[in-house]
């Protein structure tokens, strides 16, 4: 684990360093481009800080063992890319249903299917939100720099512990493989899952406003009932009653919906009343931001908006922006975040710069801005 200071560091390494700093004590994974560096680094560093590292037989086993380890009280994590993320979807839903804290890093690459393993893409945005069966909400963060690979990995652990939910770090090959200056800080805020108080016996229901029940560990003598089937507050499986299904699934969704204010995060510049607002995220938001800067220098009234948390999406703010301004979505895919932006922004106000395979130059995005401004 690196001491505090500034380093010239690859994004995936910054992610691994963030995990070490956040208190990660269990990592399970399977090699895949462009995410492997997270695992390579942790295989060496995690044991030195007393954490457990294991390479599993596939991504299904990786996330399964991460969930199992989380129930022994460990902050647990895996990292993968598209094909592996697809394999993880069923057990991701299991983590949602059983309210198991864990962090899943998806360093997205160009898809669909095997696609282009070393090339960036953000085609998994909807999958992160809807990839597993049934009704649920999830948290997904989108870093756009080496620094955010470090910072957001820590926040991913904190949010997962606080809300007892799997948190997805939706990186892409652009930020994962980019090397730049990363500041490692030691004074980071660390959240821990809430433990049961004396006499608290309901680990799968609560009357608390934040909807988060306490979580004991295996071996605490609680005779825990953890199941992916619909269950009552004490964990007992209930495969048929209306009340059990209604109460549980509504709470799982409310856990995110009602805590939006605490979870949501974005950056915005010169958005109010702008003629055009460029909305972008992930690695392409870097040249997009550069293009906005250039357009402003040329005298155009252009703003910039970047969701740092993709799910839950900043839908209220997006709606406000879409009412007052034209919007240009710049993303590294054709379908990544588009449907969500279309939901918030009137179609007559929405323009798209979609790019595949690689990052555009600032001038390419700038040309599109000028084209939209007419």
């Amino acid at each position: 684990m690196k001491g505090s200071g500034e380093y010239f560091m690859e994004g995936n390494i910054a992610c691994a360093e963030g995990a070490l700093r956040a208190g990660c004590s269990f990592y399970a994974g399977y090699p895949i481009t462009p995410a492997s560096e997270v695992m390579n680094h942790l295989s060496k560093e995690l044991p030195t800080v007393g954490g457990r590292f294991v390479q599993m037989e596939d991504e299904i086993a990786s996330i399964a063992s991460v969930i199992g380890a989380s129930w022994t009280g460990l902050k647990s994590m895996t990292a993968t890319s598209g094909p592996g993320f697809s394999l993880m979807q069923e057990n991701l839903g299991y983590a949602v249903m059983t309210e198991t804290p864990c962090v899943i890093v998806n360093v997205q690459r160009a898809g669909p299917s095997t696609g282009q393993a070393t090339k960036p893409g953000t085609g998994d945005v909807m999958q992160a939100r809807f990839g597993s069966q049934g009704d649920y909400e999830i948290i997904a963060l989108s870093p756009n720099s080496g620094q955010e690979m470090f910072d957001f990995t820590i926040r991913a652990f904190n949010l997962s512990e606080k809300y007892r939910i799997p948190v997805v770090l939706l990186a892409d090959a652009g930020v994962g493989h980019m090397r730049e200056r990363v500041k490692i800080r030691e004074d980071v805020k660390i959240e821990e899952r809430r433990r049961p108080e004396e006499g608290e016996k309901e680990f799968f229901d609560t009357d608390r406003k934040d909807h988060v029940p306490p979580m004991p560990d295996f071996g605490d003598g609680e005779e825990l009932l953890v199941t992916g089937s619909t269950h009552l507050g004490d964990g007992t499986r209930d495969t048929s009653s209306f009340e059990a299904q209604d109460k549980l699934v509504r709470r799982l969704v409310a856990k995110i919906e009602d805590n939006r204010e605490d979870i949501e995060d974005w950056e915005e510049h010169n958005v109010e009343g702008a003629d055009l607002v460029v909305v972008s995220y992930g690695s392409i938001s870097r040249p997009a931001r550069g293009a906005v800067k250039k357009a402003r220098e040329e005298g155009h009234d252009v703003g910039f908006f970047r969701p740092k948390v993709m799910w839950p999406s900043p839908e209220k703010r997006l709606r406000e922006i879409g009412e007052d301004s034209e919007v240009l979505l710049a993303e590294l895919s054709l379908r990544g975040y588009r449907m969500e932006i279309e939901r918030a922004v009137p179609s007559e106000n929405l323009h798209v710069y979609d790019r595949l395979n690689s990052l555009p130059t600032i001038d390419k995005v700038y040309s599109k801005i000028i084209e939209v401004l007419g």
Binding site: R52, G68, W71, T72, E223
Partner: protein, 265 residues
């Protein structure tokens, strides 16, 4: 020996059970409970992991220990995380033949290769019972099932032999007819530091017995007549197939942490 009433009180919860009349699931639950009672392990240190299917419902929610009822086929993978997460826990896996050797076959192979300290009971009834009696990897060649109405064109999978070849520390096969031997074998599994695999041939009177004209008791008698503790017999061998001493994964991981000076998190 502990009385049945006391076993029930100490180890079993949530009555009634979901099992069909004559099912062997309850017998497996009884044998696991008795094995724990007669061993040195504390009930609070046991985590029972299961997947999907009738067998997965044997521990969850009925066994009064920590239970982790997971997704189809993945019990061994989840259990590996529990064991590596806290190696002081005694991790049991109860998995049907479809769950364990079909959809979960890859995890079974690698659990055995890793020789990770799990106690896996594969409850083998020879078909997918919960979903209506479809063909399984353990169904005999030519056997008729719901999805092999003209006979099974495939052949059965000798899971115990495969697990043995993959390097598991302890491999055995028994049936629900052999309750005393099964209890002793589960005790041996608990005492083994390594991957223990016990195939338990278990009667399913509803999906298999009915089509063959046998009730639960008759199926138990079939097990009695068609199994042998003699390896040279033509009958199905019951007993310990293999015991080998190989490095165990969780211990190795903890040892490496210690060697590089990590202060356990």
């Amino acid at each position: 020996m502990i009385k049945a009433k006391d076993i029930k009180e100490k180890y079993i919860r949530r009555h009634p059970s979901p099992f069909c009349p004559g099912c062997g699931g309850g017998m497996v639950l009884n044998s696991m409970s008795r094995a724990v009672e007669e061993s040195d392990v504390s009930k609070d240190d046991i985590v029972a992991v299961s997947g999907i299917g009738c067998a997965a419902w044997i521990p969850s929610p009925h066994w009064r220990v920590d239970t982790l009822h997971t997704t189809h086929g993945r019990a061994i993978a989840y259990a590996s995380g529990v064991k590596i997460g806290n190696k002081d826990l005694e991790v049991m896996v109860v998995s049907g033949d479809g769950d364990c050797a079909g959809i979960g076959g890859n995890h079974l192979l690698h659990g055995a290769r890793n020789n990770i300290d799990l106690n896996v009971l594969m409850i083998n009834n020879g078909l997918y019972a919960m979903t209506g009696g479809q063909v399984a990897p353990t169904t005999e060649h030519d056997e008729e099932t719901l999805t092999t109405p003209y006979g099974n064109p495939s052949s059965s999978f000798e899971a115990a032999e495969v697990v043995k070849a993959a390097g598991a520390g302890h491999v055995a096969r028994w049936t629900t007819y052999h309750m005393k031997e099964l209890i002793e074998e589960v005790k041996k599994a608990i005492d083994t530091t390594g991957f223990s695999f016990i195939e338990v041939l278990t009667q399913c009177p509803t999906r298999k017995g009915k089509k063959e004209g046998m009730d639960g008791l008759e199926m138990l008698e079939w097990y009695k007549e068609n199994t042998s503790k003699d390896e040279d017999s033509d009958k199905i061998f019951v007993g310990t197939l293999s015991e080998v001493d190989r490095p165990e994964l969780a211990e190795q991981i903890y040892q490496q942490i210690d060697e590089v000076g990590g202060d356990l998190r």
